[in-house]
Assembly symmetry: C2
Amino acid sequence: MREAVGAPAPAGRPGRGRRPGARESILDAIRAAEPLSRVELAKITGLTEAAVSMTVRRLLEEGLVVETGRTPTGGKPRTLLQLDPIARLAVGVHLDEDATTYVLTGQTGGVIARLARPASLGDDRDSILRALAADIDTLLAGSGIDPARCLGVGIVWPGPHSGGTPADDTLPHLRGLRGEELGRQLSETTGWPVLVENDATAAAVGEYWVARVGPDQTFAALYMGGGIGAGIVVEGRAMRGGHASAGEFGHLCLEVFGPECWCGSRGCLEILAGPRTVVTAAREDRIAAAEAGLDPAQPSRTVTADFGAIARAARAGAPHCRALLESSARYVAAAAETVVNLLDIDLVVLTGPGFAAASAIYGPAIMRRLAPADAKTWHRNVTVTVSLAAATASATGAAALVLQSHLRA
Amino acid sequence: MREAVGAPAPAGRPGRGRRPGARESILDAIRAAEPLSRVELAKITGLTEAAVSMTVRRLLEEGLVVETGRTPTGGKPRTLLQLDPIARLAVGVHLDEDATTYVLTGQTGGVIARLARPASLGDDRDSILRALAADIDTLLAGSGIDPARCLGVGIVWPGPHSGGTPADDTLPHLRGLRGEELGRQLSETTGWPVLVENDATAAAVGEYWVARVGPDQTFAALYMGGGIGAGIVVEGRAMRGGHASAGEFGHLCLEVFGPECWCGSRGCLEILAGPRTVVTAAREDRIAAAEAGLDPAQPSRTVTADFGAIARAARAGAPHCRALLESSARYVAAAAETVVNLLDIDLVVLTGPGFAAASAIYGPAIMRRLAPADAKTWHRNVTVTVSLAAATASATGAAALVLQSHLRA
DNA sequence: CGGACTTCATTCAGTTGCTTAAGAATGTTA
DNA sequence: TAACATTCTTAAGCAACTGAATGAAGTCCG
């Protein structure tokens, strides 16, 4: 068991004097496979039973962990340990193209309270920040939980966690705002510590957190909202890349001489089969548009909303919409295969509103694409699943990042 | 500065009680930027000056590091530290399709002695193993170096470091041999500790080692020999994937409905533009075959050798050969862009005999492909370079793996 | 030339987080 | 009730690192 999914490193330097972290290993092991006894923890983490005992005592004193029962053995029964779900909490905020979602999440990833707001929270940065702060207060107040237990706020958007702004034209009122500025300003406004993260990366962390993925699994969370991204977790650590823009799954090249993408390159997944492209195609196909109830005279809704409408129509049997999605899915499947091959991924999780709406098409397409080479050459066993909480995965992941960065200390 | 490029983890568990490793950080820092003084090391590694001082003393006692001068400052001059290039050595062996290469390498990655042998060392496993052992002894004996300084043998092949065998039909006499068996058997035959590694991964480690790449750079070594692979190093650690088959760069999908690849999928880079495909195309094009001196009646040589001939012809101005390589390069460039976008790579190094022969075509093609989106969207600065020692990069990397796994302790 | 100053490096005491080894607690089985 | 099995805790020791003070080796300047 290695280190767990990481928040952005505290600073350029390695944590001074940090040890491999019995605390962290133990908390992560319990999270992934609770309930566990001390002896089991020792086996899993590779620590001594003595070390586990001491560390667990501290965790019990802090209230992070609780004893919840015993299982009989040949000798003294094991005392089982679990995380106290509400011992520590964090707020996750997801700034998406078509909605703003707030969740209050405990150590086990369970959603304790949630709040949905329209995407547009105000006309300028200041009013948006004030609205965010007010909503966070409302969420905490409404939950009935002691705010002292809340460790901070994680905020998630389609941009990188630092060093840049969202690349496409979502979030118009925040345009030009860099991740670190957003974090600092929101921290000043709310008084909470704030972490900023990319939506796909956060979704991956959230999935790692709530779906009890083990640190031994290499996994990718494919996220479809207004665009497509991927969060990649290797040995329990989220990959962010040198400049915090890893996971640009939408800009994998799938056609060397394909159409020009807005990113400046050609044949990207996004331009060939991204949700925006699907929506555009549906609006241009009179039958598909009618199937999905897309009004050509009123092109105003968000990509996510339109895509959802297309997916609903396809589920209801509409052939043109279904064909559009099937076509998109073949590209997404090839891109998924690329990622799986390049990184030797064990587990692919589909998440975000796009895949939540259309997983019945995309999931099987990916599995069909992976199957032949898996059987013939790689002899691996890649699992493709759909997130159980695709709609809130990113917000939960944002909160999980905050929790983890604090529980590590 | 994080942990350095990793040898395969000692065992499933985390090294029991391993500390973040002042030793490792310091050695890695010196390797990447020697000469350095103790105070500089403290700054770079984040350790205290006291800790650096103590650790360096031990390294001096062990002879790993030497003091090599002073630089004046305002006060007491700094004593500069360097690695002793021949304090510890390791043998790297590269089992390639068309040759077997041995290198004896010191701590700084410099090649102290080398030996080249034909690819086919024998007709069965036993005689191959005996030939390997004999050649390793010859190399060591001929170098005039005390064998006690040699830490072991790294062996590199086109297969995974464990859990599998080379996927294509190279190395016919070793067919069916698994990585861990090869390592164990060679260890028994030679008496040295043996590590097995994939050729592309080893090339990446070798490049990290000799080209003084810093742990802060995310980089990919693209390796072209009889096929195409990639070794990826993130935060100073080589990515191997859950089942040791990461870096299957040759099986990125670049044409969703492309031709069927031998891996069982479609449109893979390998089948569209891999060296084997280039060679086949050249042999089928009468003019290109003539340009490269490929005899259609005698199709026996290796892919690597034929590809080299094509590249030489192209360098000499042969238009058909050049066109074939340009065509291949456009696919490779798109695949490189995919990797760069997905993992936020800073540095791409081209290595292996294939790229060594044809880097003049592939390098610029990759840069041309990356440029527009870099300028328009990503605002990053990806460096594309050619390995200075492409021919021996893998063997050097194999040796580097051995050195590192020992110097960490 | 000698003292002040600057910077590099080391020493020493104290803390932390583990390890090993022994032992206490808590059950089952005969 | 004694013997056993297993889980968990305690105690002593070690290794690595930190912080703060000290020593060492130069430059600068009157």
